[in-house]
């Protein structure tokens, strides 16, 4: 194991070094970036992406991709918000159950389309990205859930907790990260996800229930997007049919790719993804501090994804070489 860690570890160490270098560079220009407060800002920026990235990582490890997560987030947040609006008497923590449940259902539908009809996930989820967004408008009658309907206790979760006042939402996202790590590293099912992505043809011959595992990763991805949905309501205090979750998929995929998860499946770690998310969070937090216009943010995101791809390719040149050989 130590050897595996040392090999795979290189990639994570690389991202970690990038984070440190970035922080130092920004810190030289703006010393206030190197304060505990910045850490707070970054950590409050990333919980949703972190949660989404864990789900997306499972899907990508299994050699698929889920582009619909932003719309899943929006739909589950919207339905949950509507429950809060029309049934304020319902005990609010049930909202978590509802949001996660709806997310899981939508994720499962993606999985069914991918497995039963044998369609490529990229196209299926491009379709459901629109479909779920459309449904969000339809169920909500294109109306926003305003702040006043979101339970105060839910909103408070994004602001504080009894534990050093660190908001619950941060604990929740870290718990998801830890659970994903445990699941992937220490359960047989987790290893089967790696195996499936590593060699989908061999998987059934080794007794892996390919359909089951595929459905599972899509369902988990959906469920975590659902969780991100209700946390969106907590963090921002409202749910909007068009904004909520829009573009979420790109941030998440960017983070996962930067974190070193191979788009060809089978390769990638929770730690790497975690660092990928943090790096994006640092960039997002540093830009306004440096007074860089918000309009450059997308260009930087795009550039970071491309650079990550190039790094990925360099780091794994050997692997790519053998792939090229098989393909050429």
């Amino acid at each position: 194991m130590t050897t595996i860690r040392s090999i795979l570890g290189r990639r994570e160490a690389g991202i970690f070094v990038m984070i440190v270098l970035f922080a130092i560079a920004v810190g030289i220009a703006k010393p206030q970036f190197l304060t505990l407060n910045s850490l707070r800002i970054v950590l409050l920026l990333v919980p949703l992406i972190l949660i989404g990235a864990m789900g997306q990582m499972l899907v990508i490890l299994a050699r698929h991709v889920d582009l619909s997560i932003g719309s899943v987030l929006g739909f589950s947040a919207m339905v949950t918000g509507m429950m809060f609006r029309y049934h304020p008497e319902i005990w609010w923590p049930l909202g978590f159950l509802l949001s996660v449940g709806i997310g899981a259902g939508l994720g499962l539908l993606n999985g069914v389309l991918v497995t039963v009809f044998r369609l490529p996930a990229i196209i299926v989820t491009l379709g459901t990205l629109n479909l779920y967004r459309g449904l969000t408008y339809i169920v909500s009658d294109a109306r926003q859930i305003d702040r006043q309907y979101v339970p105060s206790a839910l909103k408070a979760m994004s602001q504080t907790s009894p534990i050093f006042g660190i908001p619950w939402i941060i604990f929740i996202s870290f718990a998801v990260v830890f659970a994903t790590w445990w699941f992937l590293m220490h359960t047989r099912l987790g290893r089967q996800i790696y195996a499936l992505g590593s060699n989908p043809v061999a998987a059934p011959l080794r007794g892996i229930d390919v359909t089951g595992v595929t459905l599972l990763v899509f369902t988990i991805s959906g469920a975590l997007s659902g969780l991100a949905g209700i946390l969106y309501a907590s963090r921002w205090g409202f749910v909007n049919p068009s904004n909520t979750g829009a573009g979420f998929e790109f941030q998440v995929i960017a983070a996962v790719v930067i974190g070193g998860v191979s788009i060809n499946g089978g390769v990638g770690t929770v730690l790497g993804t975690f660092f990928g998310v943090i790096l994006l969070g640092c960039v997002a937090a540093a830009l306004p501090l440096l007074g860089i216009a918000g309009t450059t943010q997308n260009a930087i995101y795009g550039a970071v994804i491309i650079v990550a791809l190039l790094i990925d390719r360099t780091v794994r040149r050997q692997g790519v070489k053998s792939l090229a050989r098989a393909r050429a």
Partner: protein, 504 residues
């Protein structure tokens, strides 16, 4: 033995793929404590039968009984749970997982959310690899292991599974004799513990050394089951191919001319190094070796698919640069690749499109395709090579393997090549067509073309070639004239020295 209850009793097993029956009414009893060989030509159905026993395929008809009880094997997993393990013909593995994990994955124990016992797993993996005498770090990912080591991991996995029936589908193909011997020792011990082993191989010596009984398949049917002592080699071959060997193994004499293709010090680090040889017009030069010796890589390098890093290629005496297959084609080279489905055919495109693919200039003088010209060319080729098909417009995927292979050959003959590189041209095609192929190769040489024939079938090389080159571990180890060539000479050159020494 026949009095005992068979571990496996197969009755009337048949298997259909699409409309084709590849196994027909196979009855076979396998007993505890025996090593049972399955023999048969390529495509006879050995692997299919093995896969049915291991739950990979389900029989179209017929029943299986395990120790007297009828069973249905719904999946490989189900078979595994009942103590049946298959070592696949081509090692299957998860390249991104560690060797240790590859060994353990798929063993039916424990719940899905159960904890993965990393430490225990690694220890167990080390023990198994020691047992097989393989020195590899089990915590490394599978990717990067040699084919032989991958095969050893497969074998270790089967051993570790504690199965009652272990099926080995050509396990020895990539192994050194030392490794083979270790494997045999372990196999015998397993037999003595009362387990059953099915051993599939094309090497008769191995079968004689290891097995108690043999079953011979031909064209999907079981032809014979007998103790190994009861059959001579000649008997076995006759039973396997249904006619004497001699009949199709011959070579017409061609006049050998000037050097058509020469290769000097060709190297591609990691794949092969320092390869030099030449092939003359009218000459058939064989290239033999164990699977993974690098023969295909040399051919791919010459043809410009994955060019070498150093060394020279000369065509008709002139040094040439070949960076792309199109360069090679322009110089009069042709290459029939070993893996037809991957590198040869365009499955869903029509036969005529497949045949005309390498000669765009002939069918479309100004860039615009002339269908009538294309049709005429293809029709001519179909007649000449006796390709059996329903229509030229048919997708080539609907043809049988042998006819697909003929179409690929037809494609290359249209380019009127001076040098023809054939990589395992008869792999996976049936005997009748094979004989036709041998005739055609002979004719091609006779018409003055230079032929480089890569083959893993020794009899094929011995019968057809004027000279046989042998590769091992990416190096050329022998250049044997026809007169001196024999199975032993070629084999001894094919066995890698380095690994042999290391294993000793």
């Amino acid at each position: 033995m026949p009095d005992a209850v068979p571990l496996i009793a197969a009755r009337g097993i048949s298997k259909q793929f699409a409309a084709i029956e590849v196994l027909r009414d196979v009855d076979l009893d396998l007993f505890p404590g025996e090593i049972h060989a399955l023999l048969g030509e390529n495509g006879a159905g050995k692997s299919t039968f093995a896969k049915i026993l291991a739950g990979v395929h389900r029989p179209s008809r017929g029943t299986l009984a395990l120790a007297g009880e009828p069973i249905e094997l719904a999946s490989p997993h189900a078979a595994q749970r009942r103590g049946i393990t298959l070592i696949h013909q081509e090692p299957i593995s998860f390249p991104d997982l560690s060797v240790a994990e590859n060994l353990v994955l798929g063993r039916g124990d424990g719940s899905l959310l159960g904890r993965v016992p990393w430490a225990e797993m690694t220890r167990e993996a080390r023990r198994l690899m020691d047992l097989l005498g393989v020195r590899i770090d089990v915590t490394l990912p599978m990717r990067g292991l040699s084919i032989a080591d991958q095969q050893m991991v497969e074998i270790a996995r089967a051993l570790a599974s504690d199965s009652r029936l272990i099926i080995m589908d050509e396990p020895t193909a990539p192994l050194t004799p030392k490794e083979v011997e270790t494997l045999f020792t372990i196999a015998r011990r397993l037999r003595d513990e009362g387990r059953t082993i099915i051993f599939i191989s094309h090497r008769l010596e191995e079968v004689r050394a290891l097995c108690d009984r043999v079953t011979i398949f031909r064209d999907g049917a079981r032809i014979e089951t007998a103790p190994i002592e009861a059959l001579s080699d000649a008997d076995i071959i006759r039973l396997m191919i249904g006619r004497p060997l001699k009949e199709y193994m011959h070579k017409e004499k061609a006049t050998i001319g000037a050097v058509a293709l020469a290769v000097e010090n060709l190297s591609l680090p990691g794949y092969f190094s320092d390869i030099s040889f030449e092939v003359r017009a009218g000459e058939i030069v064989g290239l033999g070796g164990l699977v993974g010796a690098g023969r295909t890589d040399v051919a791919r390098a010459i043809f410009g698919i994955a060019p070498a890093e150093s060394g020279r290629v000369l065509v008709e005496g002139r040094p040439v640069t070949i960076a792309e297959p199109s360069d090679a084609i322009a110089l009069g080279l042709a290459f029939v690749p070993e893996d037809r489905a991957v590198a040869g055919i365009f499955r869903s495109l029509s036969v005529e499109q497949n045949i005309s693919a390498a000669v765009p200039a002939k069918i479309a003088p100004g860039g615009v395709i002339r269908r009538s010209v294309e049709r005429a060319l293809a029709m001519d080729a179909v007649k000449r090579l006796r390709i059996r098909l329903a229509s030229l417009r048919q997708p080539i995927g609907e043809l049988s393997g042998g006819n697909q292979q003929k179409a690929i050959l037809a494609r290359w003959l249209l380019t009127d090549p001076k040098v023809l590189i054939l990589d395992e041209p008869t792999r996976g095609i049936d005997i009748g067509v094979k004989a036709e192929f041998y005739d055609m190769i002979g004719e091609l040489a006779a018409s003055g073309r230079a032929i480089l024939l890569i083959s893993s079938e020794l009899p094929e090389l011995l019968a057809l070639c004027d000279r046989i080159l042998v590769m091992a571990e990416g190096r050329l180890t022998a250049d044997i004239p026809r007169a001196e060539a024999s199975q032993e000479v070629v084999m001894s050159a094919a066995v890698p020295r380095v690994r042999e020494a290391a294993a000793a």
